[in-house]
């Protein structure tokens, strides 16, 4: 069957700019015109619309599912249930514990139970109402701490309710200190809230397979899981990336992938699925809520002596990335500080709350909020400046982490804190519009107090704990229209971060060729891994570099054969020798030849943690960022305005400085959102606010001015010295804002998001 009529598009290949420049995005023109085809824009003449019936209950048995009435509804083509899943009815990123469609029980509100395909989305929705599911409603498991320890609770999965438990012991776990502070911190459930909802188009193929066009973060892991559930060999399930309207972790687990393919294969016609906003809140995993018990001990001079922590992460109904959250959460639990003694325990659990998985800052957002709150508490107890306390204890190159890993790359933590501390402070507000409450004119300044707060974080970059993390790139060099042109092909997902620009920049610099065409990302080339863990510039950037180097080697061989000269460099369309002499014009040398090479990039090996002591070299690289927030708080109304949010981050090497800045702005906005407004409110397993009216994300009015300082201390182990960028600013923004509100109000505020009622005590 033919490809979709509206489908992924050709990106601009006539832009210039290599590594270190900030060239225009190749998708820029399409995006500003609205002509970049997102998954929800895909179209096929012959297509029908798929829709999903979801469980209204967080925990229930299913006695029966009646589909006859729905099937008889005019305009309906198919109604499918678990009995129609062709392969194994189970998938999952880490554990295969998630049914494609529920069988005899549901474990969260919104769990998919049945599918409909119809002529029109409205008909499909009507038909969903006609499916008769007989539920036996059960008491939900909702408390993460009880789920970890209470053996009397129902077991939600075969192996009980603990997905992962990890202990880390360093030094003397019973160490004593002059000054001790402790606290219990909680973090609500945050949503990725990407603006382009889940969507895709499945087109059945003549070979009995299926072509799926979709928005995702990781094509190959979708392919593997989808093929398994469809009972097809992977090569018969081909995926092509369409425009992705943001991801932030929320597209790492499957949503409509298997469902749309099941319907398409069943009907032998293309099926489009496109979630609406409400369904999107149920259609993807969220950030793990957490409860964390922390105790910090320090000498009276302010040197950290020990950290003890017990942390609970609520993973909800299915495992998703809970094991990784526990791994990251515990290994990063003491922050970017030198801590000689530690005793840390983390639990990730199953419950009947919505499933939680990947979100920007995975597993680091929770502990950073807790330990940075503790650092402020400790500073107060010591009578010390909070920035000074952080600088005093900051880790640096050569430091040993809590898992015994020696940091063998730059770690300029103290420098980052100094830089944000020393930035100029904004003047007191004088503008009526500038107070909390803005144009609503709720105050003329009375009851408004100002505070300053810091947040600093450490985030592991790329995959950890022994996973072989890699990406693949294919590069083809040839002369087209008299001009040497390189075609770069990877399966990496452009989700907004600007990876398409970075791939072009690297190829331009390595090949000395202006014209770089990007092949649409799909599964006809090797795995690129996920656009997550701040890893794509590092890994896919590394793969594009390696493939370009391999192509260049072949050009040099050609030059040697032709001219007997050893070339070492490609630059400005010329083949150049070590002494700078031009050996040949690249276009002339290539002639009709086509040089194509495919290469992978694997990062340095990491190792699993010791199950008892949690010791081990689990991470390949860390990113660091520091924020300083300045807030005004209206203590009578409980309104907060973030007046200024400054950030310093080390990025190793800014391949594209503008894109780095964009990541820092965007990440900071999301961290601010978690601090003061964003939470999926769940009561007894039921989501109370699945809409943008009730789930608030920062608007342009909430976004404060930002001063950003980008450091470039290269990591000698990474391609070009790069260090992952995307996640750290999301993480350190939250505690900076929270600490600023505490500084302004003197309140303890142990939970984020901080809401008006926490500030007014009502």
């Amino acid at each position: 069957m033919s490809a979709p009529a509206r489908s992924p598009q050709v990106l601009d290949d006539k832009i210039s700019g290599g590594i270190g420049a900030s060239p225009q995005r190749p998708d820029g023109t399409l995006k500003v015109r609205g002509e970049f085809a997102y998954a929800s824009d895909l179209w096929h003449e012959n297509m029908v619309w798929g829709a999903t019936l979801r469980s209204p209950h967080p925990h229930a048995g299913i006695r029966s599912i009646g589909i006859a009435k729905a099937l008889a509804y005019p305009g309906v083509h198919a109604v499918l249930t678990h009995a129609d899943v062709p392969g194994e009815n189970a998938y999952g990123l880490k554990h295969q514990d998630t049914p494609v469609l529920a069988e005899d029980r549901v474990r969260y509100q919104g769990e998919p139970v049945a599918l409909v395909a119809a002529d029109h989305p409205e008909i499909a929705r009507q038909a969903l109402k006609l499916i008769e599911v007989d539920y036996e409603v059960w008491e939900p498991v909702t408390d993460m701490e009880r789920a970890a320890h209470d053996e009397t609770l129902p077991r939600l999965h075969e192996n009980g309710n603990v997905v992962r438990h990890q202990r880390i012991v360093k030094g003397d776990p019973d160490a004593r200190a002059d000054v001790v502070v402790s606290g219990v911190y909680e973090l609500g459930m945050q949503d990725q809230a990407f603006l382009g909802p889940e969507a895709g188009l499945a087109v059945p193929a003549e070979d009995g397979g299926v072509d799926l066009y979709l928005a995702t973060q990781w094509l190959h892991v979708d392919q593997k899981q989808t093929a398994h559930a469809l009972g097809l060999p992977v090569e018969k399930v081909r995926l092509t990336l369409s425009g992705v309207g943001g991801a932030f972790g929320g597209r790492e687990d499957l949503s409509m992938q298997v469902h749309s393919c099941m319907l398409a294969l069943h009907l032998g016609r293309p099926v489009k699925m496109s979630y609406n906003r409400e369904e999107s809140f149920f259609g993807h995993v969220h950030r793990h809520p957490a409860r964390m018990y922390y105790e910090h001990g320090a000498t009276k001079d302010g040197d950290l002596v020990y950290v003890k922590a017990r942390m609970y992460f609520d993973g909800g109904a299915y495992a998703s990335k809970t094991p990784v959250v526990v791994g990251n959460g515990t290994t990063l639990s003491v922050g970017p500080y030198n801590v000689p003694n530690a005793h840390i325990e983390g639990w990730g659990v199953y419950s009947n709350n919505p499933t939680c998985g990947a979100m920007r800052g995975l597993g680091a957002v929770q502990p950073t909020y807790a330990y940075e709150s503790q650092m402020d508490k400790l500073a107060t107890a010591l009578g010390m400046d909070p920035a000074e306390l952080r600088i005093r204890n900051a880790m640096s190159e050569g430091s040993t982490t809590v898992t015994g890993q020696v940091v063998d790359f730059p770690a300029p933590v103290a420098e980052l804190v100094r830089r944000v501390r020393d930035m100029p402070l904004p003047p007191p507000n004088t503008d009526e519009l500038g107070f909390p409450g803005g144009a609503a004119n709720t105050t003329h300044g009375e009851g408004v107090v100002r505070g300053i707060g810091y947040g600093v974080t450490i985030k592991n970059i790329a995959y950890a704990e022994g996973l072989d993390d890699y990406s693949t790139a294919r590069v083809r060099l040839q002369v087209i229209g008299g001009e040497p042109t390189a075609l770069v092909h990877t399966a990496a997902a452009e989700v907004g971060q600007g990876l398409v620009t970075v791939q072009q920049q690297i190829a331009r610099s390595e090949l000395g060729v202006e014209r770089i065409t990007l092949h649409t990302s799909d599964t006809s080339v090797g795995d690129a891994g996920s656009s997550s863990a701040s890893r794509q510039t590092y890994l896919t950037g590394g793969a594009v570099r390696n493939a370009c180097l391999a192509v260049a080697e072949r050009v040099y061989a050609l030059a040697a054969e032709r001219f007997g000269v050893e070339a070492t460099n490609l630059s400005g369309g010329k083949v150049v020798a070590a002494d700078g002499a031009v050996v040949a014009d690249l276009a002339e040398l290539l002639g009709e030849d086509v040089i194509e090479e495919t290469r992978e990039y694997h990062h340095r090996k990491t190792y699993p943690l010791d199950p008892e002591t949690g010791q081990g070299n689990a991470h390949v690289q860390y990113g660091f960022s520091a924020h300083r927030a300045v807030v005004d708080v209206d203590t009578e109304l409980g309104l907060v305005k973030v007046v200024q949010l400054d950030c310093a981050q080390d990025v190793g090497k800014a391949i594209n400085p503008d894109a780095v800045l964009g990541q820092i702005h965007g990440g900071s906005a999301q961290g601010l959102g978690l601090a003061v407004m964003e939470e999926i409110q769940v009561t007894d397993g039921v989501v109370r606010n699945p809409s943008f009216t009730d789930y608030l994300i920062p608007t342009i009015l909430d976004m404060p001015p930002m001063r950003v300082d980008i450091l470039e201390r290269p990591d000698p182990h990474a391609p070009y010295g790069v260090r992952g960028v995307g996640e750290p600013p999301t993480i350190s923004a939250t505690p900076a804002v929270a600490n600023a509100i505490r500084a302004a109000t003197g309140l303890e505020l142990p939970r984020v998001p901080i809401k008006p009622e926490h500030l007014t005590g009502t």
């Binding site: 509206r6 900030s22 225009q24 995005r25 998708d27 820029g28 023109t29 399409l30 995006k31 500003v32 015109r33 609205g34 002509e35 970049f36 085809a37 997102y38 929800s40 824009d41 179209w43 990725q192 809230a193 990407f194 603006l195 382009g196 909802p197 425009g243 992705v244 309207g245 943001g246 991801a247 932030f248 609406n276 906003r277 503008d431 519009l433 500038g434 803005g438 144009a439 907004g496 971060q497 600007g498 894109a659 800045l661 964009g662 702005h665 965007g666 990440g667 900071s668 906005a669 999301q670 809409s691 943008f692 009216t693 994300i697 920062p698 608007t699 342009i700 009015l701 976004m703 930002m706």
Partner: protein, 155 residues
């Protein structure tokens, strides 16, 4: 109930028969094949669907197509006749987007803001007037800079 209407979309008359409950957004996207305006919420909460109707910005998910019968509807795709409008150029210059999903709506909204304002726009006013357009990628600093640049060019 069906109604026969004509929308003038991006300069071309488009007669179309729609169910009277159809929104301008659905008429554009599902019936007329113009997917430039995006659907982020379908409830007037995100601004991704913003288009210009007779030069004024509207949330096309909240306006019924029958109410736009005979009106001039301009999407981001039709702002500049195959070329780029100064606001679009400014969004590119200032990196006013990442994923781009909010962008056609942001741009139509910004064009409307410039149309509404007769004098200078302060940063605070730009933010106030653009506050109905969410950007989850958080490209707000670039968006403010882009609107300021376009406003400067307009003067």
């Amino acid at each position: 109930m069906d109604a026969e209407i004509t929308l003038r979309v991006d300069g071309a008359d488009q007669p179309v028969t729609v169910d009277t409950r159809t929104t301008v957004l659905d008429a554009l996207r599902e019936r007329l094949g113009n997917t430039s305006p995006k659907k982020g919420c379908d409830h007037g909460q995100c601004g991704a669907c913003t288009v210009l109707v007779d030069g004024r910005r509207v949330l096309s998910c909240l306006m019924l197509a029958v109410a736009a019968d005979g009106a001039e509807v301009t999407t981001a795709a039709g702002l500049a006749n195959g070329d780029l409008h100064p606001v679009q150029r400014a969004f590119i210059d200032h990196d006013g987007f990442q994923c781009g999903y909010c962008t056609p709506g942001q741009i139509c909204s910004a064009v409307g803001v410039l149309e509404e304002s007769d004098g200078e726009l302060s940063r605070a006013e730009v933010a106030e007037r653009m506050s109905g357009n969410l950007c989850r990628c958080g490209a707000y600093p670039g968006i403010v800079a882009a609107v300021e640049q376009a406003a400067g060019e307009q003067r």
